[in-house]
Amino acid sequence: MIRVRGSGRLPVIATIIVALMLMVVPLPDAAEPFRPDWVTLTLIYWAMTMPRTWSVGSAWIVGIVLDVAQGTILGQHALALSVVVFITVKFHLLVRVFPMQQLAATVFALLALYQFLLFWINGVAGVDAPAIAYWAPVLSGTLLWPVVSVFLRGVSSRVQLR
């Protein structure tokens, strides 16, 4: 078990790095607010499938990297990601057996919570942003969830994690 966990870590890290890249890839101005939270989607997936390896601690570290990459307040994304991943891990057994629509609804709720936490921290820190910056990623993220989860399932079966 331990050997398998150790060898399975690298591909997961690779997917997280790809997600981080997608977060900073330039988009046209019109599409920019609709950039899905790739990192959040990826971490939700891994927390759901491998909650023992990918849990709150790793989410926090990835969040700090994301904060630095985007130049937001240090700890903002870290906090939001830790809370979202915590909830995912807490209910991972339940969520894993959900049918597709129900899973999508759960992901929608998780992304909404994530954006709400970011919004809340921005409010406390006095950062002003248009409302579209918060709800657009939730919509696009939920729509892209099936694609992301199918892709990540491919990755995890390819490297023989289970």
Binding site: L20, M21, A59, G71, G75, A78, L79, F86, D128
Partner: protein
Amino acid sequence: MVASRANSSNPARIPALGVRVLGAIALSILLMVLDHRQDHLSTVRQAVGVTVYPIQIVVDSPFRLWAWIRESTSDRNQLHLDLGRLQAERLLTSARLQRLAALEAENARLRGLLEARIRVRDDVRVAEIMAVDANPYRHNIVIDIGERDGVYDGQAIVDADGVVGQVIETGFTTSQAMLISDPSHALPVEVNRNGLRTIANGTGEFDSLDLPFLPNNADIRPGDLLVTSGLGGAFPSGYPVAVVRAVNRMPQRRFADVTATPSAALDQVREIMLIWSSANKPQREAEATDD
């Protein structure tokens, strides 16, 4: 936590999850307070930035490659045209520079007569904007030089036409800068025609700045050039910022409604210049006065 320990034999339970998330939240809040209230965390940012830098490079490289390909495959004719245009431009600017050199010498002499401090020319360095999107809530850009090259927080950035923004965060090899169009950016400016001082705020749109604190009887009209006044300390004085676009005087209001168009093409620039202002860098001033 007690419950999780009691159930640790249950394979579905993740040990100490609650404690971990509470720890993560506490740590995040601590970081946020430290980051927001004081400026103690730049070293942390730089350390984490080492992992971010390769990501930025990888994301930026296809755009760079594309630019390089386009440049190297542009045909001979085009290059000839460009060459002719650039030579003509160079002739014009050097002619202007000759006059400027004479004026600068005269200015220094007059200032000497007045016993005013002689203005020192600023050092500049060209940098490129990386094709990397930054903070989703702000008008930020990422540039390809950092602390290694002597970039410092608050440093002024201009392009060929005017002020672009200022550095807000320096990494080791890249930096983030805020554009003057960011809603939280304010820039001390003066009207070039008569020296009227005011503040130019960003509006969140690339093509518009707001001048909120001008009284109705202020001597300002459309077409006036706004230049940096140098009063905020961050920007050296005399760089063009914007051209006044509209002045609406409303008698019932205390202040006139003045908007301006930034001189720099904020959403199109790729190459920018960083200014080492003589006012901000005393050791550079010494170097600059030598020549």
